[in-house]
């Protein structure tokens, strides 16, 4: 596949385009009759897209969001940032998801992406500048109109006020403002001037998500549209040998059945008028599969192989202090711990889907994509077009957690292959839940073996650590981002860069090749690294007979302020309950920094019917400026629920003879309400520093905190996930 332009020059080019005026353009929108009312030299509509702010004649201000909204609240938060600097009237602000286009690329990554918890972190300054520049252009237009100077004008709630009581609304000024040059430089507000940033602002998308009117990608309905499902090989990479489809073709509403190439191997596409006949027909296909030369992985064999690998040092990622420090520690002062983490599926609530139409010299795609640039290139490549010939719409997505950012764009490629054959007809490809659970692209399974030598002060004096797991990025166009000297940094993040002061540390990595497609899963390597670190640190605290918060504070480096401040806040916030738990309850603590955000977590846990019952969770977080504290609170309250996917008993994907053993939510069951904390209180460290992400950082802390509480109740340490009955 074509590697997307993600080098630093791409980033600079986009910025340059911004400075030269491409980035902001204000334009009038269709009037009430739906007719275009284009400005001369201005874009009449979103295509080709180059605008972030659209001030409509009716006073509505539409702000393009350069991200996918899939729960994280960015469709509200980025418009808040822009509207604040613009002094827009919030009651009339609308956030829209931008289609794929150069101007909407992440300023840091250089592609259009939701990843690395960067939606706010990377676009905060960008959206502030966009807002301030728009405001400056509106003021310049007003000053011209009133024969005055911009410094005599002020703005408030979408109105410019000038001398002698003059005023004009943004809508009245928009056309003139659009002809003003985009200022190269603008002053941004000081924190005390913020009217929206830092305030608890409710989501813009609540009502349509509560009354069923909001359309997700799966809800798309186009004239003449057909629905496709695909029969995938039972083992990754299998190929179709023979298809018997007479029975399938007899299902009323079936339009076509044909073999298609897949990212690995081949499959059989069924196209029908609607979903149900497509699914019925697929179940009536008889397919002989060719598995010659296809590796058929087996979970139990993989564990044997991983354990053997873990007994030897791999590629060295960290080698600090004395290499033989561990050997000098007496046997009684050692902890040797082995951890096992299974494959995990993301299973976003909205099943994966993409719609594509191919018209010969044009293509159009609709997808809830976290990876618009890459997916647009993939669709274009399959259709034999240039990316700019493919209009790529960002559809609202029902969750994603990494599953909608796939380096090989396999869903979009499948949809495009089918649409190409069905030329002129829009085709919606739907992956059923079974396709999703069995379809790969999992959080890779990992084995950790850790040897800790405890010093006389109860602190870790030596740390020898081997990580075994597939690389996420090796062999992908993104390899150069995270793979250094054969080591995929995403496998060891959270350990290699630990903020604990461990003087002698040796960390090495094995990346076995396994025939299972793997993918980043919300918080990526932190899912397993935080679990290992935080359960071991907790064990050390217990052995040292120290309070788990006090021990962590003592062991953290003095400059680890993104963890020290949350721990201080956690200490205060839990003082009312932490040491007064009822009989049968225990406290569990953890802390972890990921994506620049520090999180400390305490839970109150009992054991109910052999399962952990989480009565409450208290979270303290330092995420820099909390752009929308309500949204930050929600991300943490709910994100720890997602994190508990690691602990639920059916939270594992396993393979037997190359085939995935789970099928749907009956056998791969994420957390339900009963599995998650009854209440979660979130405390935010006050900060004036740049905002950092909140999408992923909730996930790593919860599972170690819960098993740390269980360890206090049972005296056992839990190192194999999923957590079976306690």
């Amino acid at each position: 596949m074509v590697a997307p332009a993600i080098d630093r020059r791409g980033f600079l080019r986009v910025s340059f385009a911004a400075a030269s005026g491409l980035l902001i353009s204000l334009y009038l929108h269709p009037d009430a009759l739906g007719q275009e009312a284009p400005m001369p030299q201005q874009q009449a509509k979103v295509y080709p897209p180059d605008a972030f702010v659209n001030i409509r004649p009716d006073g509505k201000i539409v702000i393009q969001v350069n991200r996918l909204e899939f729960g994280q609240g960015v469709q509200t938060a980025l418009p808040m940032v822009l509207a604040d600097e613009m002094d827009a009237d919030w009651a009339n602000v609308i956030g829209e998801l931008a289609p794929a286009a150069d101007v909407y690329k992440d300023p840091l990554f250089g592609i259009q992406i939701v990843g690395g918890s960067g939606s706010i972190a990377h676009s905060f300054t960008q959206y502030r500048e966009l807002g301030a520049k728009t405001r400056a252009m509106l003021i310049a237009a007003a000053a011209d109109r009133w024969n005055t100077t911009p410094d005599k004008c002020r703005t408030e709630a979408s109105v410019v006020h000038g001398p002698n009581g003059k005023s004009a609304t943004y809508a009245e000024l928009a056309a003139d403002a659009a002809r003003k040059p985009v200022p190269a430089k603008v002053n941004l507000k000081s924190a005390t001037e913020f009217k929206l940033v830092g305030k608890r602002v409710k989501r813009l998308d609540s009502r349509p998500k509560c009354n069923g009117s909001l359309k997700f990608g799966l809800d798309l309905d186009l004239p003449g549209m057909k629905v496709a499902v695909v029969a995938h090989p039972p083992v990754f990479g299998g190929r179709v040998k023979r298809i018997v489809d007479d029975e399938a073709r007899r299902v009323e509403g079936v339009r076509d059945i044909f073999e298609i190439p897949l990212a690995k191997g081949t499959g059989v596409a069924v196209v029908a008028d609607k979903f149900w006949p497509a699914k019925q027909a697929r179940s009536r296909l008889k397919i002989d599969w060719d598995l010659t030369g296809v590796e058929q992985p087996d979970s139990s064999e993989l564990w044997t192989r991983y354990r053997q690998l873990g007994n030897t040092a791999g590629l060295v990622a960290v080698n600090r202090g004395a290499a033989n420090a561990f050997d000098k520690i007496a046997a009684g002062d050692r902890i040797v711990a082995e951890y096992e983490f299974p494959f995990l599926a993301h299973t976003p609530m909205e099943p994966l889907n993409t719609t594509v139409r191919f018209d010969g010299d044009r293509g159009e795609a609709w997808a809830g994509s976290q990876f618009q640039t890459v997916d647009q290139i993939a669709v274009a490549e399959v259709l034999g077009l240039k990316p700019q010939q493919v209009t790529f719409h960002t559809e609202m997505a029902g969750g994603g957690f990494g599953r909608r950012a796939v380096t090989d764009s396999h869903i979009q490629r499948e949809a495009a292959v089918i649409a190409k054959r069905m030329r002129g007809t829009p085709v919606k490809l739907i992956w059923t839940r079974e396709d999703d659970v069995q379809g790969g692209y999992y959080r890779p399974m990992h084995y950790h073996r850790v040897e800790v030598g405890i010093g006389p002060d109860g602190l870790p004096a030596a740390w020898r650590h081997v990580v075994v797991g597939q690389s996420l990025l090796m062999g992908t166009p993104f390899e150069s981002f995270a793979v250094k000297n054969g080591i995929d940094e995403t496998a060891i993040e959270g350990t290699s860069d630990t903020h604990y002061n461990i003087p002698n540390m040796h960390l090495s990595v094995h990346h076995p090749k396994v025939n299972v497609p793997v993918l980043w899963w919300r918080s990526v390597g932190h899912t397993h690294n935080a679990f290992v670190m935080e359960t071991l640190i907790d064990e050390l605290a217990t052995r040292a007979r120290m309070d788990p918060i006090a021990y962590r504070r003592k062991l953290l480096k003095p400059d680890a302020k993104k963890l020290l401040q949350p721990l201080d806040l956690l200490d205060k916030a839990t003082s009312g309950w932490r040491n007064k738990l009822p009989r049968g309850h225990a406290l569990g603590v953890s802390c972890h920094e990921s994506f620049g955000t520090g999180v400390a977590c305490a839970v109150d846990v009992s054991i109910d019917n052999k399962r952990p019952r989480i009565h409450r969770a208290t979270i303290a977080v330092d995420c820099g400026i909390a752009v929308n504290p309500l949204s930050v609170e929600s991300q943490f309250q709910a994100g720890i629920g997602f994190g508990l996917t690691q602990l639920v008993p059916k939270g594992a994907i396993t393979l037997k003879n190359g085939m995935v053993e789970q099928r749907n939510f009956d056998s791969y069951a994420p957390p339900y309400i009963i599995d998650t904390p009854m209440t979660v209180d979130v405390h935010i460290v006050p900060s004036s520093e740049a905002p950092t992400g909140c999408g992923e950082p909730p996930v790593p802390v919860i599972s170690p905190a819960v098993v740390n509480a269980l360890a206090r109740l049972t005296g056992k340490r839990y190192r194999t996930l999923p957590l079976l009955n306690v």
Partner: protein
């Protein structure tokens, strides 16, 4: 193919489909009512919850031929239902939704709960909402919103 007369949100609707077609897909594809969501197809996630004859029902596993003349009520009718409206308002007030995909089903389950149990306990909530998955994990706010709606609805001395 067979023709069925359905009572959907108080309106008479006629569809001609294969008798095995689940109610979910009739709603979504034949009646173009996409507020009811497909999540799993095996009644394990609750995203497709509607009320059939007043009972919260997983529409993904109910063949259209089994519906008969029982009234079907979907999320699209909730704004016009006093309990439905209160629950939707509470959801907005508590800022419950994240991705929002499961919330039609959550709201339909919550409305069914409150219609039968106007003052639900924590245990009632866990039982009634226990089969509705939310991958975002909005459960703490779902609990809060149900209590808010219950308070709102019982204030008038119902």
């Amino acid at each position: 193919m067979a023709t069925y007369q359905l009572n959907v949100n108080g309106e008479r609707r006629e569809v001609t489909v294969d008798p095995s077609t689940p109610l979910l897909w009739v709603l979504r594809e034949d009646l173009k009512m996409t507020g009811t969501k497909f999540g799993c197809g095996i009644s394990a996630c609750g995203a497709c919850t509607v009320h059939v004859g007043g009972v919260a029902t997983r529409s993904c596993v109910v063949p259209i031929s089994h519906v008969g003349d029982r009234p079907i009520v979907t999320i699209e009718a909730m704004a016009a239902d006093p309990v439905g409206r209160a629950v939707q308002n509470a959801w907005v007030e508590e800022d419950v939704v994240q991705c929002g995909y499961c919330q039609s089903g959550q709201i339909m389950a919550a409305v069914a709960l409150l219609k039968h149990t106007p003052r639900p306990t924590e245990q009632n909530i866990e039982e009634s909402m226990g089969g509705n998955l939310c991958r975002c994990g909005t459960y703490p706010r779902i609990r809060a919103a149900i209590k808010t709606a219950a308070t709102q609805l019982t204030k008038g001395g119902a």
